[in-house]
């Protein structure tokens, strides 16, 4: 122990020890050491993978993506047959994942906000009822929710043959254990006018909202923004539809030997995944919303009520805008959770990105490394995108200090 000199004089150290005891050099040494260890770690992993692939006689290449996939996928948002490529199959899977993630985020947000506000209701029954639901749902693993909903749909709903009347909605829509069958629109010539009308209506609503705000700021007169917007968004396309001579036809599902044919179908697998993920995540969002609202100081409520605003108006215009600052950051991680949890689709056979490229394609081609890299990169990119969007939103709503 040359570092402690009992004789009392300045401690004598050899040059190497002196390097170590110098704060600056030590930090440099530690950093170099960390980097070397890190590089070594990754080097070993990559080297190990390369070596193992070589021993198995496998090559590393993505060219299989352009070969025929030769399997069918039941739910495809874009044209897909068994003669399409693995790349196409991956795209179909990616779109299916995005579909369930986006639908899940929307439903979870709506449910979560409603439940969060109900949790704060002065009505004892509503309050406790929502409390019980939240505590039950979020303390059961989401996989069980998915299996439960899927099981309910497949076992409890009637089969398409001999469908009972309660599951037949006016011969237009049918609820069966193979999904909810609905009429699908067929767009004929001239239907683009309806789309244009719709876009115009949305644009008008946006302008009208700004205009109404300006009038309110200037004169204090409140315009019925909500009803005018709804009227425009429904009315304008409807007018266009009638003017162009009703160019949208409907294909109604028909009974056939085995199944209902034609129309659109929401499959049990999508239903189960979507509902289970949404409800599960909504319970977490509810707690986040509740925490966010409680974080707004009581004085804000009292000040608003002193001005004569109702409870609803106070919540909408005073409390929620302030609560959002607390809500948005944890909300982001819930959105990420929904997206990543959607990979549990595999348990019920929903054909998401893990089931297509990371499942069947992997099996048929034996390209474990390549397919897994694609799946990992996909989740990484989507997660980073969601984070980026939510961070941007967070920046926008943050308290502007004057």
């Amino acid at each position: 122990m040359s570092s402690i000199d009992m004789a009392g004089g300045p401690p004598e150290r050899n040059p190497i020890a002196r390097l170590w005891y110098d704060k600056e050099t030590r930090s440099i040494i530690m950093q170099i050491l960390t980097i070397v260890l890190l590089l070594t770690f990754f080097g070993v992993i990559i080297n190990n993978a390369v070596e193992n692939l070589r021993l198995l006689g496998k090559t590393f290449s993505f060219s299989f993506l352009w070969t025929e996939a030769s399997y069918d996928i039941n739910q495809h948002l874009i044209e897909y047959t068994s003669t399409s490529t693995h790349l196409r199959a991956a795209t179909v899977g990616i779109l299916n994942t995005l579909l369930v993630a986006v639908c899940g985020i929307i439903l979870a947000t709506i449910l979560g906000f409603i439940m969060g506000v109900m949790r704060l209701s002065p009505n004892w029954l509503i309050n406790k009822l929502v409390y019980c639901v939240i505590e039950f749902v979020r303390n059961v693993p989401v996989l069980l929710h998915i299996l439960l909903v899927h099981g309910l749909v497949v076992h409890a709903l009637p089969q398409p043959r001999g469908l009972p009347d309660w599951a037949n909605f006016g011969d237009l829509a049918f609820l069966t254990n193979r999904g909810l069958f609905m009429p699908s629109p067929i767009f004929e010539g001239g239907s683009s006018a309806i789309l244009i009308a719709f876009i115009a209506a949305v644009g008008f609503s946006w302008w009208f909202k700004r205009h109404a705000k300006k009038i309110q700021d200037d004169t204090g007169r409140v315009l019925p923004v909500f009803w005018v917007s709804v009227g425009a968004i429904i009315g304008l396309p409807l007018v266009a539809y009638l003017v162009t001579g009703m160019p949208i036809g409907w294909e109604v599902p028909q009974q056939s030997t085995f199944n209902l044919r034609g129309g659109m179908v929401i499959r049990p697998e999508f239903m189960a995944l979507w509902l289970a993920l949404s409800v599960y995540t909504a319970c977490f969002i509810a707690e986040i919303v509740r925490a966010g609202i409680l974080a707004v100081s009581k004085g804000q409520w009292e000040a608003s009520q002193a001005l004569g605003a109702s409870r609803g108006l106070t919540l909408k215009n005073v409390v929620i805008p302030q609560a959002l600052r607390v809500i948005v950051p944890p909300l982001t991680s819930q959105y990420l959770n929904i997206t990543k949890n959607s990979s549990l689709a595999i348990a019920i056979g929903y054909m998401d990105v893990v089931a297509t490229i990371g499942g069947i394609s992997l099996m048929q081609t034996g390209k474990e490394m390549e397919t897994m890299i694609i799946v990992l990169m996909f989740y990484l990119i989507v997660s980073l995108l969601i984070s980026a969007v939510m961070n941007w939103f967070n920046q926008r709503i943050k308290l502007v200090e004057r």
């Binding site: 190990n48 021993l55 198995l56 399997y71 069918d72 039941n74 254990n177 085995f258 199944n259 081609t365």
Partner: protein
């Protein structure tokens, strides 16, 4: 700095793992057990009984492998796998050998880098439908929902067959045989398709097997056999000749009942003597004990006995030998000579 580099290179040297080992036979002997990849449960082929013991046609071949290498049929570690995970489990070294209703195909052999060691069951893909649908041919299945185990050759055959016949269908992808059974019985799909042997096995577990029919069409060739990792010839030889030993034993009339006697009092048939190790050094050539084939037959019997016990006409599965009879009896089961 020099010291640093030295340390780093030492770390590299320490971590430099060789990865996938080439000598599975030595590994198995060192571990004292065979990690055998089987399915998650198919009646008659690989399933657990009420006491949790693995039973079935494939499970018996796992035991035969352990008996040959380690002299004890119980030194098997059963590793379950779905249609999708099986090759990864084998190739990553988690399993030593795959006895799991796996179809020998070109791509799997050449590109997925498996080494198939023969065929222990000649199968083909069939369809099962409820009788009440009144379907008598696969060609009448237009518009049906079809339950299919995902990641299997049957999935590809199905797509090919229906496309070439211009039949539209809804594939309902399923992970395991049990899930397929549940979904089929709940009416999520009209049809269940997999290897005909698997259909017979699944139907045998239904409450009312008579309410379901197998359609006459067999749409593919499914030679099922054991697989090992590519490039491990020594271990591959062991697996291949375990299978061949059971076949040769049936051909020569060696059974579980008479094998001990044949070893104690060797007869005049040299091939039986070579097989059972009372003559020649065949075991040593394989890196095994002299009596390896004796242990195999003693543990599980010959090919015919394994078949009859697990999936034959007297079992609930009730499969006929058909293509899986010995070549001398009009089937395809054939073994190269023990010489």
């Amino acid at each position: 700095m020099k010291k640093l580099l030295l340390g780093a290179s030492a770390a590299i040297a320490m971590f430099a793992v060789t990865g996938a080992q080439a000598g599975t036979l030595d590994d198995v002997k060192a571990k004292g057990e065979v990690a055998c990849v089987v399915s998650t449960g198919v009646a008659g082929f690989a399933y657990t009984d009420a006491d949790g013991n693995w039973k079935g046609f494939d499970a018996d071949f796992c035991r035969a492998t352990a008996a040959a290498v380690l002299g004890d049929p119980n030194k098997v570690k059963f590793v379950t796998s779905t249609g999708k995970t099986r090759f990864t489990i084998l190739n990553s070294g988690e399993g030593d050998v795959l006895w799991r209703n796996t179809t020998w195909t070109y791509v799997r052999d050449v590109d997925v880098k498996l080494a198939f060691q023969g065929v222990n069951y000649y199968d083909g893909q069939g369809f099962m439908v409820p009788k009440k649908l009144g379907v008598s041919s696969a060609k009448e299945l237009d518009g049906a929902s079809v339950c299919i185990q995902t990641g299997t050759t049957t999935e590809l055959n199905l797509a090919d067959y229906f496309r070439s016949n211009g039949i539209k269908y809804e594939p309902v992808p399923i992970e395991t045989n049990d899930e397929a059974r549940t979904n089929y019985l709940a009416g999520r799909c009209d049809v269940y398709t997999t290897d005909a042997s698997g259909l017979a096995a699944t139907r045998s577990t239904f409450e009312a097997p008579g309410d379901h029919v197998l359609l006459p069409e067999i749409i593919s060739k499914e030679p099922l056999g054991p697989a090992t990792r590519h490039g491990d010839d020594n271990w591959s030889d062991v697996v291949r000749w375990v299978l061949n030993a059971t076949v040769t034993a049936e051909e020569l009339g060696v059974t579980q009942a008479n094998v001990d006697d044949m070893v104690k009092n060797p007869g005049k048939n040299s091939e039986i003597n070579r097989l059972l190790g009372t003559e020649g050094e065949l075991g040593a050539m394989l890196g095994l004990n002299k009596d390896w084939a004796h242990q195999v037959i003693k543990a599980v019997g010959n090919y015919g006995e394994i078949f009859e016990r697990n999936i034959g006409p007297k079992t609930p599965i009730g499969l006929e030998r058909g293509l899986n009879a010995l070549w001398s009896q009009g089937g395809l089961i054939y073994s190269p000579p023990f010489r």
